[in-house]
């Protein structure tokens, strides 16, 4: 099993930390992982993306140009990454702020209204976990038990009260996926 994922959106949406939780969860499942961010002067409000690769085997290149899954959270990222999804792959996106929706028919396309999910859970900061939940529903590459363990690794002990909030967001996110195109 090998899953190559690009997560892309605005800085501040929790793109990098979503990738980190996913990667840590995979480690808890004894998988190999790489997490490679775009880095540089683009910070909050700018574009941010991270390439996460999960695999049963040792991972060669941590940077790829075609992805099994693209998780897209703003229009610039849609323009850049829709075409990079492998045929038969998955494009998961948040429709808010998207003016040009994905057009491809050879991939699975799904939506997650993560702002609403996060608001429903009661904290806008868990937006990214709602998106992660939606992804895991569509691609159950990591078991929920290991996601909980990964989450614990990523949240500092002093914020431990936030773990259940994040878990709620993951569960609610997984229940709120809307499939737009199925192949």
């Amino acid at each position: 099993m090998k899953e190559e994922i690009i997560i892309a959106g605005f800085g501040g949406q929790g793109v990098l930390s979503m990738g980190k939780v996913l990667a840590y969860s995979a480690i808890m499942q004894d998988m190999e992982v790489t997490w490679m961010p775009s880095y540089g002067p683009e910070m909050r409000g700018g574009t941010a993306n991270v390439c996460v690769i999960l695999s049963d085997k040792k991972i060669g290149s941590p940077i790829v140009t075609k992805y099994d899954t693209a998780i897209i959270l703003n229009q610039q990222s849609m323009d850049k990454f829709e075409k990079t999804v492998k045929a038969g792959g998955l494009l998961l996106y948040d429709p808010s702020g998207i003016t040009r929706h994905p057009e491809r028919k050879d991939i699975t396309v799904a939506q997650i209204n993560a702002i609403d999910v996060a608001a429903g859970v009661g904290n806008s900061k868990v937006y990214n976990m709602a998106v992660l939940g939606a992804f895991l529903r569509l691609r159950p590459v990591v078991e929920m038990e290991n996601v909980r363990k990964g989450l614990k690794k990523c949240i500092p002990a002093r914020y431990s009260e936030l773990i259940s909030l994040n878990e709620d967001a993951i569960v609610k996110g997984s229940e709120s996926v809307l499939i737009i195109n199925e192949i």
Binding site: K20, A23, Y24, I27, E32, V33, T34, W35, M36, P37, Y39, G40, P41, I59, G60, S61, P62, I63, V64, T65, K153
Partner: protein, 360 residues
């Protein structure tokens, strides 16, 4: 089982320094390696192991701080990225001339000049062939994963103290910024004052009645004395070349074509080898882990039974010079590279390979 932590290569350097009994880190912020000092400052090792961490006013000062710390026999290190390492070359030369142990991490980015902040391997010549004025060698080790970043700190200090020589960990923006799982080894305590007196009797630990004063200097002014010293260094380098060469081979046993690549390029190359093997082309890879000393002998041996050898680098072709020296015309030597912070894909390498070898 040792705990496995997800961390960036840069963070692995910092955590490894604390856990391997490093005495001091002196640095200056520069992308893409600022997480090294940020992690150290966050961890506050001065409250636990007693390790000193200091933000210097420049790379020039940082490297001279490790010069001062190394004089005292302490395990000291710094890290920077290409433009900062250019500034450090003065200090590196002085440390080579004073035969001081230290570890310096270069998380390379695209150049020349300010260049880019994206990953590159364009400091190969600067670090492997030079790294300052005068007749000397750095020991250069090239990590290819976050685990390597963690492990090479301790290995680097072992080499640095065994040979009283600067050791450069030549990494790049990918290895520094990428997170992978890292297995932690048991903590090594910092050495005691007694340990230092025993292991580094040459150090400026304070002149006691029982010994002559210790002077750390790279100055001689007398040509004959300097030449004797240069020849002593030469013998040291010969020993390093004889004992410390390290490389990793991938599918070379039956290979007809050889790739040579170090650091992150070797990982991408490995994927290219897999693709070629699926096409029935017997490709293999040699990854030099030590860049100085360079695995000349092994590349030379392998090249005798290859149809071609290609050097794959994130630069304009620097290590390929050493590959040619090793191959000595036994077979054609090719090169493929990307520059400026761009990264090649395995497919690009495969295409370049087929073009060079006139294969379809």
């Amino acid at each position: 089982m040792a705990e496995k932590i997800l961390m960036k290569g840069n963070e692995a350097i910092a955590i490894s320094a604390i856990r391997n009994g490093v005495d001091g880190y002196f640095g200056y912020p520069i992308t893409p390696q600022s997480e090294v000092m940020e992690t150290l400052m966050k961890e506050k090792p001065w409250e636990t192991s007693g390790m000193v961490v200091l933000q210097a006013e420049s790379e020039t000062s940082a490297v001279n701080m490790i010069y001062g710390g190394a004089c005292c026999g302490k395990k000291v290190m710094t890290s920077s990225s290409s433009p900062g390492v250019s500034l450090m070359c003065e200090g590196i030369s002085y440390m080579a001339g004073a035969e001081l142990p230290c570890v310096i991490v270069d998380v390379m980015r695209g150049g020349p000049g300010l260049g880019t902040i994206q990953p590159s391997q364009s400091d190969y010549d600067m670090i492997v062939k030079g790294g300052g004025h005068g007749d000397f060698h750095n020991i250069v080790i090239a990590p290819a994963s976050a685990q390597d970043m963690y492990d090479f700190v301790d290995w680097g200090f072992d080499l640095a103290f065994r040979y009283r020589n600067p050791v450069i960990i030549l990494a790049d923006g990918i290895i520094g910024q990428m997170m992978e799982k890292v297995e932690m080894h048991p903590v090594k305590p910092r050495r005691t004052a007694e340990d230092i007196l025993r292991d580094a009797p040459w150090a400026t630990t304070g002149k006691t009645a029982g010994r002559p004063r210790n002077i750390i200097t790279s100055l001689s002014l007398d040509s004959d004395i300097q030449e004797v010293f240069n020849q002593k260094l030469s013998r040291k380098y010969a020993e390093i070349e004889a004992k410390e060469v390290k490389y990793i081979e991938y599918l070379t046993e039956d290979a007809e074509y050889l790739f040579v690549a170090f650091g992150c390029a070797s990982r991408i190359c490995e994927a290219a080898v897999d693709e070629l093997r699926q096409d029935g082309i017997k490709a293999g890879l040699l990854r030099p882990v030590t860049l100085y000393p360079y695995p000349f002998t092994r590349v030379s041996e392998l090249s005798a039974r290859m149809k071609s050898v290609m050097s794959i680098e994130l630069n304009l072709g620097q290590m390929v010079t050493d590959v040619r020296l090793a191959v000595e015309g036994r077979c054609p030597v090719g090169f493929y590279g990307r520059q400026g912070g761009n990264i090649f894909t395995p497919e690009e390498i495969v295409d370049a390979f087929k073009k060079f070898n006139n294969l379809k």
